[in-house]
């Protein structure tokens, strides 16, 4: 599908997520590259769709009985239909970086240079370490604490236990790297928009939906 077609079918917070992911996301802006060019190869690892479905499961409460009317496959398919998540090489590359646990402590150079470009040190800002190196180190430490009790053989997000996956996602949400927080925000927007635009989800939360039958003549 063409770039334009994605943006045509996007929406609000989800539109900004797509715009960013499709401009490179964790790899920085690759807008100059011709369409279809793969500036960075997709990393070997889990297939993108497996990672995405795992992320859908981590972000939504399928372990809650009340949510049983919806399935991870239905949400993923809604996200694919609305936003073309499964057809985009940029999103696939981003998901691969997210999935690779070893890259959390030592992120690829493209990610750190994108961090420096978009979230440069701000004089007087005490909200996070000033240098990108210090931010990476702080993240690595948080990861070490979190993963201390995990099975050491795990190398991918997709293969973690559900609660471990959620903790890993929140590590991204509260990362000292702005670009990781942005990835979290982007994926959350796509998944929440895909889920909560479905009439089936409205029934679960007591939202009656449009009132158009009151339209005046």
């Amino acid at each position: 599908m063409e770039r334009r077609a994605f943006l045509e079918s996007s929406s609000l917070a989800a539109a900004s997520a797509l715009h960013w992911l499709r401009g490179g996301g964790l790899f920085g802006q690759v807008a100059q590259a011709p369409p279809g060019a793969q500036a960075t190869p997709i990393l070997p690892g889990e297939p993108p769709n497996t990672i995405f479905v795992a992320l859908v499961k981590a972000m939504l409460p399928f372990d809650d009985q009340r949510f049983a009317a919806l399935t991870p496959a239905a949400i993923a398919s809604s996200a694919n239909a609305l936003f073309g998540v499964d057809k985009d090489a940029d999103i696939a590359r981003n998901l691969a970086v997210f999935d690779s646990l070893s890259l959390f402590a030592s992120p690829p150079a493209a990610l750190t240079s994108a961090e420096l470009a978009v979230y440069p040190p701000v004089p007087g800002d005490k909200s996070q370490p000033a240098t990108v190196e210090a931010r990476v180190a702080a993240d690595a430490k948080s990861y070490q604490t979190l993963s201390a009790h995990w099975n050491a053989a795990q190398t991918s997000f997709a293969s973690l236990q559900l609660q471990e996956q959620r903790a890993y996602v929140m590590l991204w949400a509260r990362s000292d790297l702005g670009i990781r927080r942005r990835f979290y925000r982007a994926m959350k927007s796509l998944i929440m928009a895909a889920a909560y635009s479905m009439d089936e989800a409205w029934a679960l939360i007591g939202y009656a939906g449009p009132l158009l039958h009151f339209r005046s003549s």
């Binding site: 917070a13 539109a15 959350k188 635009s197 158009l212």
Partner: protein, 523 residues
């Protein structure tokens, strides 16, 4: 290539553009063309679904600051922001305009009803405001139209001695569906799409929508640079839009006066893209955008706050001391789910109580920072914005007080749209009023805390000194003749409130002035 000859061309058909087109066509018989980037959608098209109706917003609502921290929303359709806003009306703040006059030398902008600005009989801000208020039926809705969310907010404020006020709204016989943000399917919200744009079309103003304006054309006449026209591409009309007045393709529009009313992002970008001389780098610089922080409370009983008039009550108690408002707001499920903190069962603990949620927001009147602005890099426009430390400090105070108000209203839990780790709390989720003090530690890191913005202003500032401004009090470019900017871009600072009525009053004022100064533009 289609060439269109006009006397006046207006870029934008929103709050400013539509008001200008209506006013100029009322007071002159000049040939007027109005160009709109978005489509022309009317009530039949508004289906009250969040994803579908994102087509009414710039970049489908996906425009953000470069760091992704703040969605920067504006309407992109006939009616612009007035088609998708919550109809919240504030008269232009006379104190702010007085400060502008004093500090930038712009005038006259008289607020006395008897004043004759520019020698034009009856031209003053007060009379223009009265015209706008009348055309839009700006009024305070009846008591029985206030929904539970607004009552809750008022009760919380009252318990803490915080004063509240009633919003004035530009509506007529609102049915309270709760879908202002998706376009009014009943034409009860009096956007410029159903008022001034309609008036302009009735008086033969030519509207071209789906129109991407590329650049302004200039000519050199002696030592003077003069704007002569625009180049643009008309896109194919999207399904659901009204028909267009030209075929898709490249067009040029030549005109004696060009007025940019494309909003505080698109207007400076068009000037930058057209290479308007700007030796002091004033164009695009000094953006303010009213960063807003939503506050949600979980209540014991069903409130169904997604119905009714979204914003009926606000508080300006802290405007003069801390520079912010509390304004009632509420979101439909997609917007709420994206904004609320956490994931998994913690997130669903909030979403599953959606009909028991209440909400209001902090709207910060942010200060001008010279590093904040809009930059066209030759490929795309970047919105660069950082909250200043003093603004963060005010936001912390506002968040803390807001959490206290929500508890005082009876909430059992209060959340901010933030995943920031605060003290012993997992995120910005408060179990008791005492927890509110944790707001004092908030950092507002980009993408960790979810802020929103709908009120961009101040990117083509007016002033008499070309070193510190880009246009004069008439909105005319310092660098070029026959080129005006008339929208929230020209505000030197924040106008101090939701800007719609201030923008429309300014447009009415400039429209009447231009109609009486046609010879100034060789008409």
């Amino acid at each position: 290539m289609t060439n269109i000859e006009a006397d006046i061309v207006i870029v934008g058909a929103g709050a400013a553009g539509a008001t200008l087109a209506a006013t100029l066509s009322e007071y002159t018989n000049k040939r007027i063309v109005m160009l709109e980037k978005g489509g022309y959608y009317t009530h039949d098209y508004f289906d009250q679904r969040e994803l579908d109706m994102s087509i009414l917003y710039a970049q489908r609502g996906g425009r953000t600051t470069v760091d992704g921290a703040i969605p920067v929303q504006s309407g992109e359709c006939v009616g612009g922001g007035t088609t998708v806003n919550f109809a919240l009306c504030f008269d232009p703040r006379e104190d702010v305009w007085s400060t502008w006059k004093r500090e930038t030398g712009v005038g006259p902008f008289s607020f006395e009803r008897t004043a004759n600005d520019y020698g034009v009989s009856g031209l003053n801000m007060a009379s223009c405001l009265a015209d706008v208020r009348r055309r839009l039926n700006v009024h305070t809705p009846a008591d029985d139209q206030i929904n539970g969310n607004n009552h809750m907010f008022a009760a919380g404020c009252k318990a803490l001695g915080v004063q509240t006020k009633r919003f004035e709204l530009n509506m007529i016989d609102c049915i309270g569906c709760g879908y202002c943000g998706q376009g009014c399917a009943y034409d009860r919200k009096l956007s410029t799409m159903v008022t001034y744009a309609h008036d302009a079309l009735r008086r033969n103003v030519r509207l071209i929508h789906h129109c991407d304006v590329h650049s302004i054309q200039f000519a050199q006449r002696g030592s003077q640079r003069v704007a002569t026209g625009l180049t643009a591409t008309v896109r194919p009309t999207a399904p659901g839009s009204e028909k267009n007045s030209v075929e898709p393709g490249e067009i040029t529009v030549s005109a004696k006066l060009i007025i940019l009313s494309a909003g505080a992002i698109a207007s400076p970008v068009l000037l930058q893209r057209s290479h308007l001389p700007d030796s002091n780098q004033m164009i695009g610089r000094g953006l303010v955008l009213h960063p807003s922080l939503p506050i949600a409370g979980v209540f014991e009983r069903d409130l169904v706050n997604y119905r009714g008039i979204t914003g009926a009550i606000y508080s300006d108690q802290y405007y003069s001391s801390h520079g912010f408002y509390y304004e009632c707001l509420f979101d439909h499920p997609v917007g709420a789910a994206c904004a609320l903190p956490d994931i998994g069962s913690e997130h669903f603990a909030l979403m599953s109580q959606y009909s028991k949620l209440a909400g209001f927001g902090v709207m910060l009147v942010d200060s001008v920072g010279s590093r904040n602005g809009v930059v066209w890099d030759g490929q795309s426009a970047a919105i660069i914005y950082h909250l200043s430390e003093p603004d963060k400090e005010r936001l912390r105070f506002a968040a803390r007080r807001g959490v206290e108000i929500m508890f005082a209203a009876g909430a059992k839990e209060v959340v901010l749209t933030s995943d920031e780790q605060l003290g012993a709390l997992g995120g910005a989720r408060f179990k008791s009023r005492q927890d509110a003090a944790l707001c004092d530690h908030m950092q507002f890191r980009p993408c960790e805390t979810f802020l929103v913005s709908s009120h961009c202003q101040g990117t083509v500032k007016m002033g008499e000194d070309p070193k510190r401004s880009a246009v004069n009090a008439r909105g005319e470019s310092h660098a070029c003749k026959n080129l005006m900017v008339c929208d929230a871009s020209v505000f030197p600072t924040s106008c101090g409130a939701n800007p719609m009525i201030a923008v429309m009053t300014l447009a009415r004022y400039q429209g009447r002035r231009v109609a009486n100064e046609l010879s100034r533009y060789a008409m």
